[in-house]
Symmetry: C2
Subunit: 349 residues, 2 copies
């Protein structure tokens, strides 16, 4: 496959979530973790576009505080280093302007850095279709992930009419639903998860910014395109909220490739097969496991012997100076733990 | 208090149980653990007799394989090093013969090395009473621990008639009962736990050995008192079985001093107050604990931050290269784990 010469990849790697604490911390966030797959999620993301995007046109956007760690993880990759995190709209805008300097009609792919996509060929095919569409249409293109469960943790895209080539008009962006709504969505069949993956020409997205968020251009120009000066004035807002939800030219391609956003320790269960052998149906990333009448646990304790006796549905993690033991159904509440860690042992948060 | 010049302490420290695995291992058994109290249970045992027993008359019996570790823990204390473990009867017999060489009418105290006795003064008073009795009676004296629950994990002493000075004749030694029996015992009031603590003159116990286990003297004499030669011929049997259950001159003093044999991780709950502050009613020996909606756990992870989220009734231990997570009601089954460890990572068992 020959790379598409006018395509630029922008990987958003500024997140510093704590859902995988203690493995993920503010200084070593999820995108730098490998989850037993040899390379970081960030590197996996960059590698995913091999053959599609010219190597010198793969960029990473991250915040200053993470830049050094990101550089270590992805040496040689160009980094746009934000003075501070401002959600996704400002970083997309900045990257779009930078790409426009290289190629005013360049194709810009915006991708999260911390998701997993097991079925690579399907993904590449969909992305190629999206690029082709963006090259020939003045549309904001996004990828809608085919849901396989009534998930309440994601926003949805409501697909409208088919517009050919496998693409659909997006009627609306839908906030995270409750379970009843999510079940309706799954049954209806035209609701797709919003995975935050976008493909567009830079002239198209910059025009959309000018139309729906004109203050961004003003701030940028007033500060002579100096990122250090402009950023503090930028409102922290998402690209969805600033542009996508308001735009009428949003087109989507359905994506069905085993995508997972690794939203919590429990999402590792969806990735079981990627993590190699499992014992007693537990997901295990440990030196050795001894499991007696123990099932359905998630274990991450590299280099350790982990022994379980009569244990079900737990998350057990050892990392550095920390041992976490949490009920799986409380995985979303690990943030409560991290809040306490910040007070008690800030260096470990 | 002036030490009793004719009294000798024999601390039995040959055990290599694994109930506190991974903290206790075959090379570092329970008697060498401190359980957050600064010194090992063995040292605590030796110290318990300060003022009662002359320092040079405190002896330790252990096996060859543990001798070096015991020496490190109790430097300067005389050690009788058994070529191999043979249960308690042979080591009591050997120690009695050694004491008889120093003082044929010496008082011998036989004490386990891995129990805990919070109420020291009460203990010393009872031991003093027992010593006084043994000095003036040709009896085998033992201490019966006042039960506070219908425990099925211990053998019992059935107390008979009072013989004065707070002592009772022991009618019989009773095997570990089932729960119904244990409840009856508790109600009856004259059943006491057999804690394996004995006080007698060496001439009295040696005479009892000659009467009830005459082969011991034969083996010992035939091998010219050479322990390396004699030991392989000794039958591994307990002092209870070899002598106490058969003897008719057994006298007991009731002991009520918060005694605990630390039979498993869960027994640490009985020691809560010795271990300092507790959080959420968990027993904690860890660097720091963050506990969110978690109660009644037993945590031992020195130097670590342990974070619990929605966790009840678990044992969580980190030690060296091992992490153990076990349900508290499975504490007695840790031996099943250790059996697997012996196969998988013998160095950790």
């Amino acid at each position: 496959m020959k790379p598409i010469s006018d395509a630029f990849l922008v990987v958003m790697a500024g997140g510093s979530g704590t859902r995988f604490w203690p493995k993920s911390t503010s200084k070593h966030p999820k995108q730098l973790l490998s989850f037993g797959q040899g390379t970081s999620l960030l590197t996996q993301t960059l590698n995913r576009f091999e053959g599609l995007i010219p190597p010198t046109q793969k960029w990473i956007v991250t915040t200053k505080s993470l830049t050094s760690a990101i550089q270590d993880d992805s040496p040689g990759v160009q980094i746009l280093s934000e003075p501070q995190g401002r959600n996704t709209a400002p970083c997309v805008y900045w990257a779009a302007r930078e790409i426009a300097k290289k190629n005013p009609k360049g194709i810009m792919l915006v991708m999260p850095s911390d998701h997993t996509i097991p079925q690579l060929e399907k993904f590449k095919k969909t992305v190629s279709d999206a690029i082709a569409w963006a090259q020939s249409h003045d549309d904001l293109v996004t990828l809608g992930i085919k849901p396989d469960r009534p998930e309440t943790g994601y926003g949805y895209l409501k697909f409208g009419v088919s517009v050919g080539s496998g693409a659909y008009r997006v009627d609306s962006f839908v906030e995270k639903p409750n379970l009843d709504k999510a079940k309706e969505f799954l049954k209806a069949g035209n609701f797709y998860w919003n995975g935050g993956m976008f493909v567009w020409r830079v002239d198209v997205i910059l025009r959309a910014f000018d139309q729906y968020a004109p203050e961004m251009k003003k701030i940028w120009d007033a500060n002579h395109e100096k990122v250090e000066a402009a950023y503090p004035h930028m409102t922290a807002t998402s690209i969805d909220y600033a542009v996508m939800e308001k735009a009428s030219n949003v087109t989507a391609f359905p994506l069905d490739c085993g995508w997972d956003d690794l939203g919590s320790w429990t999402s590792l269960e969806n990735l079981g097969e990627l993590l190699g052998a499992k014992k007693d149906s537990s997901v295990v990333m440990a030196g050795d496991l001894i499991s007696i009448e123990s099932t359905q646990n998630i274990i991450d304790a590299q280099g350790k012997l982990v022994a379980l006796l009569g244990i079900q549905d737990l998350i057990v993690v050892h990392h550095g100076d920390v041992i976490l033991v949490a009920r799986k159904d409380r995985a979303q509440d690990i943030k409560l733990v991290v809040e306490q860690v910040k007070k008690l042992r800030p260096g470990l948060a």
